[in-house]
């Protein structure tokens, strides 16, 4: 059920991200200052949190509490270390709060793999899902197109790709209002014989599913909107997404360079690009509500960009709040149950 008037409790991994903990704490403060029924739990070693809080002037009357963790994940840790030897790290403690029912959502700007593993281990998967996927909306260029997985899983098994197709289809229906979204596998050619082992095996699974599967598409088909849902492993998806996000920025530079002898025309380039392509700015600031969520987890876990500053964390907190209020996990759970009941999953 959607939660409209309740206080939404959000845990933030204060130690995750390139600019942690300072920018993460500042972002939490920005969100709390909005006084929009949010209660924030900053998770990290308490001594570090208290010192940084003091450095920031110890702002009071904010709905922020500290939750202690003994440790935190560093770039040199493997994702699975959050289960084995870093089970008391800040992201592990934050995700455990979801399972305990103490918070409604978690924000993590640290190592994405570690956030995903924490979510799988300590929150758990929805029935029918084995691995979570991150959905990216390619709406600036490719109208009504979603890409997944855009980074949660480096390697994917064929049946995991199928489950991403189902999640993508459910989301596309809900987001775009399309009754039967087209779904495609991303490959090196349209033929079923193209692609790596996982893609070729997945092709058969997709053909035998009840999804509106249109076959495989190539990279050059994506921006043309050939499919509403484009499925690939997180390794491919993450590379593709980052390339996609860079297109508008570099196109702007290229156009300005070409217009260098026409100062009046050149002066119009920035406003036009900023208006038409929000991603020409720092893309993660303008992410929509579906982006960054680990879809398939039995709770709302939102991955924020590793290079996030305070404003991005503030945005991520608000986005997670909206996701809780809209009960996106409950909606996905209900849809997955229907698929399971109908033997489609």
């Amino acid at each position: 059920m959607p939660k409209t008037n309740e206080i939404i409790r959000i845990a933030v991994d204060a130690m995750g991200g390139d600019n942690a903990p300072d920018e993460i704490i500042k972002g939490a403060i920005l969100a709390a200052q909005r006084k929009e029924n949010i209660e924030i739990s900053l998770v990290g070693p308490i001594d570090i949190l208290e010192k940084k809080w003091g450095d920031l002037g110890s702002p009071d009357n904010l709905a922020i509490r500290f939750v202690n963790s003994k440790d935190y994940i560093t770039e040199s840790d493997s994702p699975v270390s959050v289960i084995r030897n870093k089970s008391e790290s800040s992201i592990a403690v934050a995700t455990k709060l979801v399972r305990k029912g103490e918070v409604d959502a978690v924000i993590g700007a640290g190592y994405s793999g570690a956030v995903a593993v924490s979510a799988i281990q300590y929150v758990g998967m929805l029935e029918g899902m084995e691995r979570p996927a991150i959905i990216a909306s390619l709406s600036s260029f490719a109208h009504n197109t979603l890409l997944l997985d855009s980074g949660a899983n480096v390697d994917c098994k064929p049946h995991q790709l199928l489950s991403f197709g189902i999640v993508g289809s459910i989301c596309a229906k809900s987001l775009f209002g399309i009754p039967n979204p087209t779904v495609a596998l991303l490959s090196t050619g349209a033929e079923s014989s193209k692609g790596n082992d996982a893609i070729r095996e997945a092709y058969t699974l997709f053909q035998n599913s009840n999804l509106n599967f249109i076959g495989s598409v190539e990279g050059s088909d994506i921006l043309g909107g050939l499919a509403n849902v484009v499925i690939c492993d997180g390794y491919t998806g993450n590379i593709l997404l980052k390339f996609y996000e860079s297109i508008a920025g570099y196109a702007r530079i290229w156009v300005k360079h070409k217009l260098s002898r026409h100062p009046i025309l050149k002066s119009t380039v920035d406003p036009i690009f900023h208006k038409l392509f929000p991603m020409a700015r720092k893309s993660y600031e303008s992410e929509d509500e579906v982006s960054g969520i680990l879809w398939g987890i039995d709770g709302i876990i939102r991955i924020a960009h590793g290079a996030s500053y305070a404003s991005h964390i503030n945005h991520a907190i608000m986005s997670a709040r909206n996701a809780v209020q809209a009960d996106i996990v409950g909606s996905l759970r209900s849809e997955l149950v229907k698929y399971k009941t109908e033997g489609k999953l």
Binding site: P79, V80, I83, R84, I120, Q121, D155, H159
Partner: protein, 81 residues
């Protein structure tokens, strides 16, 4: 149910394979298990038998049989303690 059968059931549930595919000479690689599957299986087995499987010991396992032997040994040691 023997420890070996219980372990098969746990691992098959985590890796999502038929437990009949697990033999003493089989490996996680044969099951197409990824690193998360392997760690989840180890943690589940540690929890089930209340034992510890150090990473350095786990790295020595050549196949499922080695894994079973190690776990049975640790259970026996615990019983004798």
């Amino acid at each position: 149910m023997s420890v070996e059968d219980e372990m098969k059931e746990i691992i098959a549930g985590i890796v999502h394979v038929d437990k009949s595919l697990l033999s003493r000479t089989g490996t996680f690689k044969d099951m197409k298990a990824d690193s998360l599957d392997i760690v989840q299986a180890m943690v589940a087995i540690e929890d089930k038998y209340d034992i510890e499987i150090p990473d350095e010991e786990a790295q020595k396992f050549q196949n499922f049989g080695d894994f079973v032997d190690f776990v049975e040994k640790r259970i026996a040691e615990k019983g004798n303690a």
